[in-house]
Every structure is written in structure tokens, then in C-alpha cells.
């Protein structure tokens, strides 16, 4: 049962082969027995899930079912869930139980989906290995047989690991610099970061407002489409959310790819990429050629500056977004503050982990008097150059394809002592966030027995085409079906 996709489980529920309560129990049991290996969940909301499952069964019996009614899934612990702890992977919010739902959370609730719990993540979504979580590192289900624990990627490492380990068929995630695509690639599943503004950010705990976007993780492209169908859409509560019609993303999955124009950005096939990784990505592109697509080399001349621009803009925005954690209204507060300054400085020193503090300090520095022009303004100008690169590229091609990460899942602890080395994990993914374009990660082979992801980047609001391209690829390949070993 746990190997089935959302689409398959939905059909089983519809045909009456299984009830939501049975399904939910099955997955909850599996989490209980298996997650000790992965630590992919921070909170398992068993009681709530079973109550929701019961309600879903009743709704289905009453004939009011949607595709999602009764289907289990999980939320990244960055999505506010009313009555269920939402921690952002931080000590700062370890005790935070939101008195409200976010918009995406409410959408899943409305559709009748059953949330099993909240998945682990890098603290405040800052990281590429899921090692910065206050609730402990997440272990990648792949490569466990070598007795070397590997990272699942980050920051949505808990969601990726949980889906890969078949603890849930699907999970929400967010992507600020690659936090959906990189863990999806490292865990061998399919993930989509939508266009900036496609999914409401209301109720997603913010890190870098102009870069982050909620998105989808599941094993198949079709399941990603089913998720996006209920996640995408206008929300008057989010000023940055776009009022634009939402297509049925499943309707175009089966369009033939004949004539699809693929661009390969030459900067993404550089010496930072191992030959073995490159071979897998090029093989995947060949599959597309076999499906009727044409391929040409394109250039994103400013892409090499993406990581630098990102590590100014994201920390700067974070320094303001995370200023609300002051120990006054919610979250962690230090013991016995002796004065106001003590309350602030100790609450924040004790409540935030090292990576979060580093980024707040870098961001504060980049915005401070005398450095604003050289850092923040300069980064914003480079951001426009990067955006222009994508606009130019999409004049010639329909999608861009590239690797997701420079290497497959690395061993825990390998990069955590060197922040900059960790930042370079996202060298191929960050530019899409700066430009705001949608991008996917699709399983495309293995190196040393570890999954490799193919990144497909689309033009603004072209999610349907990305999902179509990914789905067609998954009709002729089975990388996404492989069981972790």
C-alpha cells in the first residue's frame, strides 16, 4: 500500500478498496516503526490524523469527495497548522502551536487530505543537508546499506526522506534557494518549485520573502500535479501572490513532447560537476530527444554570480524576517532576563542555531550603513542581470535542463563545518529563485548507487509544461520507482 502514488491511493479510496482510516493507520504504523532510522518527522499528529481520516471517510460516503479526500500526506514544519506544533526546525519555535492555519494548510484541509504530521527541516529553512535542525539531522533512506549515514539534502530534507522512505506518498515543501529540488534529487523523488507568486506564502514561516515559494514533493510528476492543483492560486492575504487562473495541471500531463525545445545552459555543465553526474544528466536529455524534443546549448552568463547575490539578499531579508523572534509574544524566551537587552540578546542567542545566527549577522552587515550599496544594492542589480539571462534564454527554448546538485548525497558531517562549501550545494538551483521562474527535480539515474536529479527550469507560470515534461519522462524511465537501498 505504501508504495502507491497519491493518484493510485485516491482511486483505491474511490473504489472502496480501502478506507482513509485504514490507510492512515497503515502509514502511521509505518512512520512509528521506520522513522527511527530517518528522523524525518518532528511531530506526528496521530489523533488529529485519525479524526480527519474518519471525517474524510464520512465525506466520501456522503458523495462529497475530492481527489484528495482521505489521502495521507505531510507538511514541512514551516507550514502553520492550527493546533499542531509548527517549529521551523528551531528551538525558537519548539513550543509554538499556531492558533491559525496558513492558506496552503487550509487548502489541504478543505480538500479533505489527511495530514499525518510535520516533517523535519533545516532550521528556518536555512541549509542544504538538514543538519541544522534543532530536532536532529535527517538521514537519507538511500545509501544506508553502506553504514554511512548520508544527508537527504535540505532544507526540505524531512519531506524528501519521508516520501522516499514511503512514510507518506506526498509532502509539502518550500524552496528558497533549492530547498525542494536538491533534497528531491538526493532522495530520488520528484519535486517542484512553482513560479514565485503561484502559491500563497501566507502561513509559511518566512525566511527570505522575495525568494521563497511553497511547492510539492512526491514520487511521481502526476502526484506533484495533483498537489499543485490545490496549492496554487490567488490569496488576498499575500501581497506577493499572483491573481492568475490556475489550470488543471493533470490535464496536460499526456501531451506529446514532440518539438519541445530544450536548452542546456553551458554554465551548468562546468567543472564543478563530476563526470559521472554529467553522464546521467546527458543520458536523461537523450531520452527527451528520443521523445521528439530538440536540444541546443544556451548561456546564462550571469549564473556564476547567483550564489554570491543570493547570500546577500537572502540573509538581508532573513535579518528583518527573523527580528520578530524576541521572546515577547510567542516562542522561546530566555530564563529570568535581567533587563530588556538581556531578554533580546539571550533569547536570540539561545533560541537560534549557528547557521541562522550566521545568516542574520551577514544580512545585518550587508544592510548596515556604509555597506548597503556595495552589498545589498549590488546584489539586487546582479539579480536583475540573472533574471534577464532567463528571459533571454526563454526566447529561444521552452525549458532548460541541467543537473540539480554537483554531487549525489554526501555523508553527514562532511560539509557542515564549512558554511561556504555547503552553500555551493545550491550552485545550480539558486538562479531560479532569484529570477522567480519555476523549476523541478526529476529522478534521472544513479551514481555510486545514489540518486541523481535532472533539473527542468521553465518560463514564468509554465508549471504545466514542466509537469508534462517530467511525466512523459517517467513514462519511459523508472528511476522514480526505485526503492531506497
Amino acid at each position: 500500500m505504501h508504495n502507491k502514488s497519491v493518484a493510485e491511493l485516491s482511486r483505491d479510496l474511490e473504489s472502496g478498496n480501502v478506507s482513509s482510516v485504514e490507510l492512515t493507520r497503515d502509514f502511521l504504523d509505518r512512520i512509528k516503526s521506520e522513522d527511527t532510522k530517518y528522523n524525518s518527522f518532528i511531530t506526528v499528529s496521530e489523533e488529529q490524523a485519525l479524526a480527519d481520516a474518519k471525517a474524510a471517510d464520512e465525506q466520501r460516503a456522503a458523495g462529497n469527495a475530492t481527489v484528495w479526500t482521505g489521502v495521507p500526506f505531510a507538511h514541512k514544519d514551516l507550514f502553520c497548522t492550527e493546533g499542531v506544533a509548527t517549529t521551523a526546525g528551531s528551538k525558537m519555535l519548539a513550543n509554538f502551536v499556531p492558533p491559525y492555519d496558513g492558506t496552503v494548510t487550509a487548502n489541504f484541509r478543505q480538500a479533505g487530505a489527511v495530514c499525518l504530521g510535520k516533517t523535519n527541516m533545516d532550521e528556518f529553512a536555512m541549509g542544504s543537508s538538514n543538519e541544522s535542525s534543532f530536532f536532529g539531522a535527517v538521514t537519507n533512506p538511500w545509501g544506508l546499506s553502506n553504514e554511512q549515514k548520508r544527508v537527504p539534502g535540505g532544507s526540505s530534507g524531512g519531506s524528501a526522506a519521508a516520501v522516499a522512505a514511503r512514510l507518506v506518498p506526498a509532502a509539502t515543501a518550500t524552496d528558497t534557494g533549492g530547498s525542494i529540488r536538491q533534497p528531491a534529487a538526493l532522495c530520488g523523488i520528484t519535486g517542484l518549485k512553482p513560479t514565485y507568486g503561484r502559491v500563497s506564502r501566507y502561513g509559511i514561516i518566512s525566511f527570505a520573502s522575495s525568494l521563497e515559494q511553497g511547492g510539492t514533493m512526491a514520487r511521481t510528476a502526476e502526484d506533484n500535479a495533483l498537489m499543485l492543483n490545490i496549492m496554487a492560486g490567488f490569496d488576498p492575504k499575500d501581497s506577493t501572490c499572483v491573481d492568475r487562473a490556475v489550470p488543471d495541471y493533470t490535464a496536460t500531463l499526456n501531451e506529446p513532447l514532440k518539438g519541445l525545445k530544450i536548452g542546456l545552459p553551458k554554465e551548468y555543465f562546468s567543472d564543478q560537476l563530476s563526470p559521472a553526474m554529467e553522464e546521467q544528466v546527458r543520458n536523461a536529455v537523450k531520452e527527451y530527444e528520443a521523445l521528439g524534443a530538440t536540444v541546443k546549448e544556451v548561456s546564462l552568463p550571469n549564473a556564476r554570480l547567483a550564489v554570491a547575490a543570493y547570500y546577500v539578499i537572502a540573509p538581508a531579508e532573513a535579518s528583518a524576517n527573523l527580528a520578530r523572534y524576541d521572546g515577547v509574544r510567542f516562542g522561546y524566551r530566555c530564563e529570568n532576563p535581567k533587563d530588556l537587552d538581556d531578554l533580546y540578546t539571550r533569547t536570540r542567542a539561545e533560541g537560534f542555531g549557528p547557521e541562522v545566527k550566521r545568516r542574520i549577522l551577514v544580512g545585518t552587515y550587508a544592510l548596515s550603513a556604509g555597506y548597503y550599496d556595495a552589498y545589498f544594492l549590488k546584489a539586487q542589480k546582479v539579480r536583475r542581470l540573472i533574471q534577464q539571462d532567463f528571459i533571454n534564454a526563454f526566447k529561444d527554448v521552452d525549458v532548460l535542463m541541467s543537473p540539480v546538485s554537483p554531487s549525489p548525497a554526501f555523508v553527514q558531517g562532511e560539509k557542515s563545518s564549512d558554511p561556504v562549501n555547503m552553500y555551493l550545494e545550491d550552485i545550480f538551483t539558486i538562479a531560479a529563485n532569484l529570477a522567480g521562474v519555476p523549476a523541478m527535480s526529476v529522478p534521472a539515474g544513479f551514481v555510486d548507487g545514489l540518486p541523481v536529479g535532472l533539473q527542468i527550469i521553465g518560463d514564468y507560470f509554465d508549471e504545466a509544461r514542466l509537469l508534462n515534461a517530467a511525466h512523459q519522462f517517467q513514462q519511459v524511465t523508472d528511476w522514480h520507482q526505485a526503492l531506497p537501498r
Binding site: Y100, S209, S239, A323
Partner: protein, 483 residues
């Protein structure tokens, strides 16, 4: 040494919107602590701001009223600092691209001069909450009901050269925003807050001196005192060869003293940058027109009309037109009072005196324009004397009655205007005062004669028990004494 005083103002104007600038929380005054602080106002994780259209409309109305350029594309910025009444750890404001650009306000001064004060800009921002310093086991209590209330911060050029000009400008600004209906103008509740920047420079010098900022002056009187106090303080320092320190000072009106505000960070570094949760606000022609259509009569136009329509002098017209509510009260009084000048005298005289004495605003007055108008009509038609009318006014004010005629009736204040009865009284009084009559008749100077008439009025009023119409007494006296 002679000094030039240089004054610029920053004014926080609370906008009278129903809801906050970034959330749908009520801004109504007086609710229980934190009952009007929503998840957005509390900056709870995951919440996002969405700006209030009415706040922009009000800001544009203000811009139009001060002949300013309207910012067609305004941008919200984060101003980063920590304070317990600032939930986000940053205030959302407009730094480089404000909604209102350069404009000006003309201020009429007591000596008849007209002073132009330039507006540098006005921007939209959110108010902070309030810290309550009563003792909660040595802690401070934070009420965030006010957090997120929309403000426009108006920044002037340093164009004012005296406390009189600064206070004149402040009064004019108060008059403008209340007339526009975009602010309730209640300074005691902080609806309008003035910060004064003051510096001195040697007379005639082009170089500005170091300025200080005196904060949160919640009345015009304190503002005037605070400026005088600060000018003197700076003058003392400079004349002793010292240097003025650039700092923020708090003025205590009750003690007429000021002190430097302690700040942990010597130099604040607010790290302004565009707020990424919000997009640029574009104001188009249609929006500006819709704001223009809402503009009421502005104080300067109203003043001109009062002079024209009611024949008031410049001074009275200025006083009555400045405050929209006082102006409306006056017009109601004049409408029912038959005599507009008399109505003006009573509104500026008795009515204003009672407001001051009881520290009330026009809207809190226990008497209506209609009631005062009815009283003024009775003065105009000689039914009641001025001194009788004061008694009527007092009764109306105290709520003993809501109708002037009823008070005149019940207190027997109706003037005797029956000429037959009055002539009889004059005859009797003159008969009792033969010496004074003779004196009057021998006097050649009509001015002195006029003065001597007063000597008969006392006994006449006494004879009539105060109810004789003085004007008629006067006429009869002149006729009889002259004959």
C-alpha cells in the same frame, strides 16, 4: 551674540481609518489591551501585511491639500530596530519613495504676515504599540492595540524661525487634517504628535548649527514652551563657547524642563531596505481624482467664505475657520441666530471660554449650535440682554434646559421693551437725580455727556430689576435730557 533660530517639524498624523494599515483589525480607541491586535499585528510567524486602500486615499487627500506632488509609485521599506512595542522588530515605512512629495502650507501670523512653510514630504507608516510602565512585578506591560495604526509622517523644511511660526504651522496642520476628516485631531490621545527640530546659527550665517529633536509634544502650549526652553538651552551652551550635541530630547511640560533620551545604540543604524512582502503601490489618475472628489472645503477657502458670506473680520474668520468642527458649530449658530457677527462673538467668546474652562473639545460641548443660535436670535431681537443671555447660556450648558426661550421664560429674563413703562421709570429716576440732570445739561462736550449717561443707567436697571432694555433706556434718556 545675535542668533537665528531654525525650526523644522516632523508630525505624526494618525489616520482615521476603520482598520489598521496592514491588517483588518479595528483601530477604535479605548478597547481592552491587545483585543485589537490580530496575528498580523502581533507579527506571528507566517503572517503577511496587506495595505489598506483608505490609508492611501487619506494620504493622497493630504497631499492634494498641501499642493504636493503625489508619489505615483511609492515603496514600503523596513526600518529595523528592536523595541517591545514594535512586534515585527522592524517598522514598515516609506524611506525613498513616499506617497506625498514636496508641497507647502501658508500660515497667517498674528501680525498679519503670511508665512510659507515648505513640506519636504509625507510618508505612510505604521504606528507602534504602547508600553505601560505601571508596575507589573517590576515589568512593563505591552499593549499592541495601537500597533499598525496608519500614520502619515509629515516632514517640513527647516523654514520656521520662531515658536510663533512653528506653533502657527502646527495649528494650521491640525486644522487641515481635521478639516479633511483624515485625522480626529485629538492631541491628548496622540492622534497628532509633533517632534520639533531646533538649531541656532549666528545671525545671517548660511551654515546650519547642530540640531536637537524634541519629541512628543502633545499640546500647542507645550510646544511653544518647549521651543522657548530649547532655544534658551542651546543659546546658553553656545554663548558659553560649548557645542550643541545632536540628540533626541524629551520635554516635560508640567515642569518646563527637558532631558536627553538615553539610547543604547549611540548611532542608530536602521538598515532600511524595501520590504519584500509588499510591492510598489502605483497611484493612477483615477485614484487621485477619487481623492480629489472627496476633498471638503479647506480652511483657507472657508476663511475667505466666512468673510464674504458673514461679513466677519479677518481675525474672527481665521479663528472660526481653522477648526472644522468649530466652523460647523459657528455656521449652525449663525443659521439660527439671525445675526452672524453676534453669533461669531458668542462662539468665540462665551462658548470658547466654557470649552477652555472645562477642557472640552467642540464635539464634547453640552450645547448645540442650534441651541446657541436660538439664544443669539433672542439677543438680536432684544428679548434678552447680554447679561441675561449669559445666564441662559449657563443654564443650557449645564443641561437645565435645552431651549433658550424656556430658560428666558422660567428665569424671568425677558427684557422690558414696553416704551410706556420704561419712560415712566426714566421720569422717576430723573426726578430723583436733579443735580446730575443739571450737570448733564450744562455740559458742552457731547463725549462727556455720553459718558454721564452711564450714571443714570445703574439706577434705571435697578428700577427695572435688570429687565429694562438698555438700548431703549438710552434712547429715552437722550431724548428727555436733551429736551
Amino acid at each position: 551674540m545675535q542668533w537665528d533660530i531654525v525650526i523644522g517639524l516632523e508630525i505624526h498624523v494618525q489616520l482615521a481609518t476603520k482598520t489598521k494599515i496592514f491588517s483588518g483589525s479595528s483601530t477604535a480607541f479605548g478597547a481592552g489591551p491587545n483585543t485589537q491586535a490580530s496575528a498580523i499585528d502581533l507579527a506571528m510567524p507566517g503572517t503577511l501585511p496587506v495595505p489598506n486602500e483608505q490609508a492611501f486615499r487619506y494620504a493622497v487627500m493630504f497631499g492634494l491639500a498641501v499642493d504636493a506632488e503625489i508619489g505615483r509609485r511609492s515603496v514600503f521599506d523596513h526600518k529595523n530596530y528592536f523595541y517591545p512595542d514594535l512586534p515585527r522588530g522592524s517598522q514598515i515605512t516609506q524611506m525613498d519613495h513616499p506617497i506625498v512629495g514636496p508641497g507647502f502650507v501658508d500660515v497667517d501670523l498674528a501680525d498679519g504676515r503670511r508665512k510659507r512653510v515648505r513640506i519636504h514630504h509625507a510618508h505612510l507608516e505604521e504606528d507602534a504599540g504602547k508600553s505601560l510602565h505601571e508596575d507589573y512585578h517590576g515589568m512593563t506591560g505591552i499593549d499592541l492595540n495601537r500597533a499598525g495604526t496608519p500614520l502619515i509622517e509629515v516632514v517640513t523644511e527647516p523654514d520656521m524661525t520662531s515658536a510663533e511660526e512653528a506653533v502657527g504651522f502646527a495649528r494650521k496642520l491640525h486644522s487641515l487634517v481635521t478639516s479633511l476628516g483624515i485625522c480626529d485631531g485629538d492631541m491628548s490621545q496622540g492622534s497628532l504628535r509633533f517632534d520639533v527640530n531646533i538649531s541656532l546659527k549666528p545671525k545671517g550665517s548660511d551654515t546650519l548649527g547642530t540640531r536637537t529633536e524634541t519629541k512628543n509634544l502633545n499640546s500647542f502650549r507645550y510646544m511653544e514652551q518647549a521651543i522657548a526652553h530649547e532655544v534658551e538651552r542651546q543659546m546658553d551652551i553656545l554663548e558659553d563657547g560649548g557645542q550643541v550635541v545632536q540628540e533626541t530630547r524629551l520635554y516635560n511640560g508640567e515642569r518646563d524642563e527637558s532631558r536627553s533620551m538615553r539610547t543604547k545604540e549611540e548611532a542608530n543604524d536602521y538598515r532600511y531596505f524595501p520590504c519584500p512582502d509588499l510591492l510598489p503601490v502605483v497611484i493612477d489618475d483615477a485614484f487621485i481624482q477619487s481623492a480629489r472628489d472627496l476633498l471638503p472645503e479647506l480652511p483657507d477657502d472657508r476663511k475667505a467664505r466666512f468673510k464674504e458670506q458673514y461679513g466677519l473680520n479677518d481675525y474672527d474668520a481665521g479663528l472660526l475657520s481653522a477648526d472644522a468642527r468649530l466652523a460647523a458649530f459657528f455656521e449652525e449658530t449663525a443659521k439660527h441666530g439671525q445675526d452672524a457677527k453676534l453669533a461669531a462673538n458668542w462662539v468665540l467668546g462665551e462658548f470658547s471660554a466654557w470649552l477652555n474652562a472645562e477642557d472640552k473639545t467642540v464635539s464634547e460641548a453640552p450645547i448645540t449650535g442650534l441651541q446657541l443660535g436660538q439664544l443669539v436670535a433672542r439677543i438680536a431681537d432684544n428679548t434678552v440682554s447680554s447679561s441675561g443671555a449669559k445666564k441662559v447660556f449657563e443654564a443650557l450648558w449645564n443641561g437645565d434646559s435645552d431651549n433658550a426661550d424656556a430658560v428666558i421664560e422660567s428665569q424671568g429674563l425677558k427684557q422690558v421693551s414696553d416704551t410706556g413703562a420704561l419712560e415712566k421709570m426714566v421720569d422717576d429716576v430723573l426726578a430723583e437725580m436733579p443735580d446730575q440732570v443739571a450737570q448733564y445739561q450744562q455740559e458742552q462736550d457731547p463725549k462727556k455727556q455720553k459718558k454721564m449717561l452711564g450714571g443714570f443707567m445703574g439706577p434705571l436697571m435697578k428700577a427695572s430689576k435688570g429687565q429694562g432694555n438698555p438700548k431703549l433706556f438710552n434712547e429715552i434718556l437722550v431724548r428727555k435730557l436733551g429736551g
